[in-house]
Structure formats: C-alpha cells, structure tokens
C-alpha cells in the first residue's frame, strides 16, 4: 500500500489557498510594501552615506577599528562592481525577514522556556522546519504568494525562525536555579522575574540567536533568487543560468561581504549589554567618589 502523504499535503495547500486566499494576498501586499520601502530608502540614499552609517554602526557595536575599516572598503568594492542596488535590495529582504523571524521566534522561545508542554511540542516542529530541504518551502510559498520576492521571504522566515526560538529558550532555561529561587523568595511575580532577571541574563544567548537568524536569512538569499526574489540572489542565479562565471563570482563576493559584516556586527552586539552596564557602573562609582571622597578612600 502506498500512502500518498505528498498528495495530502498538496491538497491541504490547495484547500488553504481556496479558503485563505485573501489572507495570503494581504500578507503579500504588506511584505511587498515593507521591503519596497526599505529598499527604496537604502537605494535612494547616496551609497557613501549608507556606507558611512553601516561603518558607524560597526564601530559603535563592536568597537573594532579593523572591522570598521573592512566594512568601508568592502562596501566600496560592492559599489565598484556595480552591484550596489542589488546588495541593498538583498539587505532590505534580509532585514524584513529577520524582523519577522525574530518577532515570531523570540516570543515563542520565551513561551517554550516558561512552559514545558509548549517546549515539548515546539521542539520537533523546529527540527522539522530546519531539517526539511529549503526548496520544499519554496513550492507552496510560490503557490500562496506567486512568483517574486514574497515567497522567498516567506521561505526565509520559516527557515530562520528555529535558532531564534531555540537560543531564546536555552538562554532563559540555563539560568542558575538559585537566582530563580532568590527572585521567587523575594515575592517577585513571574512577569517581573522574566523582565528583570531572566531576559537580561539571557541577552547574550538571544543575540547569538539573532546572529544565526541573520546568517540563515542571508544564506536563503541565493535560493530565493530562484523564485525571482531579485537582489544578489538574482545575480548569482543569472550567472549560473548563463554560465557567466565572472558575474556569478561577483554576486557571490557581494553576498560574502554582507554576511561577514552582519555576522561580526551582531556577534559584537552580544557583549554590548555588559559593556554598557559596566560603563554606567563606573560612571556612578566616579560620581559617588566625587561627592563623598571619604567613603571612596576607606
């Protein structure tokens, strides 16, 4: 006997399309609008201005001179390869999909951390989402949203959510039991414990999740190029289709530059909370010492 799981899945997709077509159209419209706006802004501004902002962000978040210099030179290289508009449209797609993935993934992670049942249900679903070859998402996504950028983004979001959920859950769950007991023993509500203790301490782990989400989203860019998402993915896909090695390579280099930049900047941001806190503490200490020199000496 042959079980027609594939057929069932296909008919479920058809059913959803028939019944929720309006919904998918609305999502499609919204995502198009968002990405379009972001891309317009990024492409509309002068490249040098955007590069300056990106370099400043790198400097502020990582405090690394090397990375700042690298990002200026690397983005200038993209401009000189004539791929700037494509790179910016890819960046827009990545930003929008990352925002959606995080908006879904982080709350899911928090929920899974606080509730064992949710965690047990979510885990195999995440496994499935991650282990499924990404092309499989593209097929129904194209059905739902038509050819273009939106199915690429939809597939990217599905693919990129798991690390956000997992690392958020892990960050909250690995909290020292004694700290949880301490907060509880002082009569704190669960919401306060979450906001005041669990989330701040999970911040590095959540940021590691953000970093992975961004990298996965970027890795989907080329794949999304297959369904007409445009941007650097489109360049690479074109290069492959026309056996144009030079064009394909240039597109690849631009993707790598974006990847390195986003990776370094977001992993630098993991320790940002610590850095800021320490700076604030030092400032307060200095203020205390200034106002009360006797106490500072003793």
């Amino acid at each position: 006997m042959r079980l027609n799981i594939g057929d069932w899945f296909a008919s479920m997709i058809n059913w959803m399309l028939a019944n929720f077509g309006g919904f998918f159209d609305a999502v499609s419209w919204l995502v198009n609008l968002l990405v379009g706006e972001v891309a317009n802004v990024l492409i509309g501004l002068h490249p040098f201005l955007v590069i300056a902002v990106l370099a400043a962000a790198a400097a502020a978040l990582t405090r690394s001179l090397g990375l700042t210099v690298f990002s200026v030179l690397a983005f200038l290289l993209i401009v000189s390869m004539g791929l700037w508009p494509e790179a910016m449209s890819t960046l827009a797609v990545v930003l929008v999909s990352v925002v959606f993935s995080l908006a879904i993934g982080i709350p899911m992670g928090i929920w899974a951390a606080l509730n064992n049942t949710v965690s047990k249900i979510v885990r195999p679903v995440l496994d499935l989402m991650q282990a499924m070859p990404v092309f499989v998402y593209l097929i129904p996504a194209v059905f739902f949203f038509g050819v273009g950028m939106v199915p690429g983004i939809a597939a990217t979001i599905v693919f990129a959510i798991p690390p956000a959920v997992r690392l958020t859950e892990l960050g909250i769950r690995k909290l020292d039991l004694e700290l949880l007991e301490a907060a509880t023993a002082f009569g704190a509500k669960r919401s306060l414990i979450l906001k005041d203790v669990q989330l701040p301490l999970a911040f590095p782990s959540i940021m590691a999740g953000v970093n992975q989400v961004i990298m996965l989203a970027l890795s989907m860019v080329v794949v999304a190029g297959l369904v007409g998402a445009g941007g650097l993915g489109g360049v690479v896909v074109q290069g492959v289709a026309q056996l144009d090695t030079a064009r394909g390579f240039e597109g690849g280099v631009a993707v790598v530059i974006l990847a390195v930049y986003l990776d370094r900047v977001t992993s630098g941001a993991q320790s940002l909370g610590d850095v800021l806190r320490r700076r604030r503490t030092r400032k307060e200490q200095r203020a205390a010492a200034a106002s009360d020199p006797a106490a500072a000496v003793s």
């Binding site: 004694e178 907060a183 023993a185 002082f186 009569g187 306060l192 503490t281 307060e284 106490a295 500072a296």
Partner: protein, 365 residues
Amino acid sequence: MNTVELGTQATDRAVNANDADVPFIRVRNLTKVFLARKSKRMRLFPGRQAAKGFTAVNDVSFEVQRGQIFVIMGLSGSGKSTIIRMVNRLIDASDGAISVGGKDVCSLGPTELRAYRNQTINMVFQHFGLFPHKSLIDNVAFGLKVRGVDKGIREAKAAEALRLVGLGDRIHAMPDQLSGGMKQRVGLARALATDAEILLMDEPFSALDPLIRKEMQELLIKLQRNFKKTIIFVTHDLNEAMYLGDRIMVMKQGKDIQNGTALDLLEAPADPYIEEFVAEVDRSRVLTAGLIARHRHVGQPDGPVRPSDGAERVSEGTVLHELLPVFAAGAERIGVVDQQGESIGIVTAEDVFAALSPKGFSNAS
C-alpha cells in the same frame, strides 16, 4: 465600654501573647516526599515503582520563638534545605502544617504568598544568589522593587543596609568584583533591606573559608543584637550551630533526632550520631557565659543573683574561652549580664571547668 474597644484590647493581648510565649513559627508533622519522575518504563509496569517516592523530610515538628536563631543541623542530604524551602513555599509540603504568626502558610493563595515572601520572610543563599547583571545597590533593593517602593526610597534603604554590612563604599560595584565573603554580606544586606521579620539562611557561610566564616558569624551576631530577627539557619557544622543557635535541631535522614540548646546536645546527646558530632566540638569556643549562668540559675531557684555578687562582669554572649584569662587573674566568680545590662547570674571557675569537661554539667549541679 463598647465592643470596638473590647475588640482592640483582645487584639492587643493576642499580639502580646505572640511576643511572649506563643511560638512565632510553628511546624507540625512536616513531611516531604519527592515523587520520582514518571518515566515511560514506570507507566508500562505500574505495579513496581509507581507509588514510591523519596522521603526527604519525615514527620518533623519544631517551634521557633520570635527573635531566636533556630539552627537546623545535619549531614548532606538530611533534608535541611527541603525544610527551609517549605517554610517559604519554594517547595510545597507533602503533609503537615506550617504556621507563622498564627497564619497557615500552606493555604496561602498566590497573591498572599507573594506578599508573605516579600514582607515576612527573606532568604540568604549558600551560593549567594546575587543577580550578576545588577549592581550591589540594585541587588539589595530588589525586594523593595518587588514591593513597588519608589526608586529614591528603596535606594536609600539599600544603601543603608549595605552600610550596615560594611559595604557602604561599594554600592555601585558589580557582584563579580567581590570576594565570597563580601558577596554574602550583600546577600545579608538584601535580606535586611526589606524589614522582613524572618530570615531563612541555607548554609550561608559554607562556601567561605574559615577566617571569613568566623567574621561573618560575628557579623550576624552583631546584626542580630540590633535587629532581633527570627532566623532559621541551616548548617552542617556543629561548631557553627552551637555558636549561633539559641536552639539546635539535628536532622538525620529526614528525621529530627534531637532538638535542644547547645548545652542539651553536649550534655545528653540523643543518638550516637550526635555524640560523634559533639566529640568534635571545641566547647570553650561555643559555650557562652550566659548559658552557664542560666543553667546555674535553674539549679538554684532562689532568684537572680545581684550584679554586686560578681567582681568582673561580662555579657552573656562571651564564650568560655575568653573567661579563662579572667579566672587566671584570680577572679572567683564572674557576673553575667544580658544585652540590656540586666544581671543573669554568675559563673564560677568550677562551673567553667565542669562545662568544659565532657559530660561535665550533670556532675557540677
């Protein structure tokens, strides 16, 4: 006279009675059975292990008076932490009753429970339990923040509490900049800042090295003199138990095998296990002048001895070790006074020698 006044009087009397002789914390037949986690195997073969659990605390009863330090002592795994956690409901009891100030703790609803934890009972942890992302002052102010106290007021209170434990100049430091002893000072300050009457201390000094440990014990005694908290203190060190405890309960495998003063344990260990412990104790450093004087006083029920009876006078917390030089200098008797300076009685050199020798008390009186 109207009924309202009568009512008021009755309440007054109740409060007074509470203060005087009704125990503040009363624990009855407390039992905790940890159910082993249900695994698939157990569900497939329900007959074998299913109903069995691990009895960590087995039918324990005790009472703590207001202002007392009540020590729970026992080896690792004897259920001390489990008891202390049932008192503030971090763990729910399987059976038995706990009442604090006449209120049944086990039946508190979620909101009342939070209020009880925040206002009545605070906890100090073995590994300090400090929030690593908060400065000392924010750590100490946490309980007040939970209570919804204004930032200005709670920071003033927190700074004051930190000053009391000797960290007044480090209020903006982060916990990881401190040594272990200092961290536990913060733990103490955090519990003091909320004005809760009861302090639960689960092996608070066990993670510290001996010198710092001694220092912290002295700090606790000093603070206790001013604050008169009601403290349940867990330790596995009998020296510490005897130095700090007004009463000591000894636990073994979930049961309370003896409950008494340091003297009771020294004089009449209820169990070979306790005898073994007692043999290790340095009596001269745990027995206090107050204990001996009170003991004498029980032996001679003819009223308190007047201060003029003793040439030298010491406070009741003085350990016998410190009396020895006084006797060596020729004193025959030493007067003992309590913290208010009221006379408790006297001790003689003979009393001290008797107390220091094993089984000595019964012979002396």
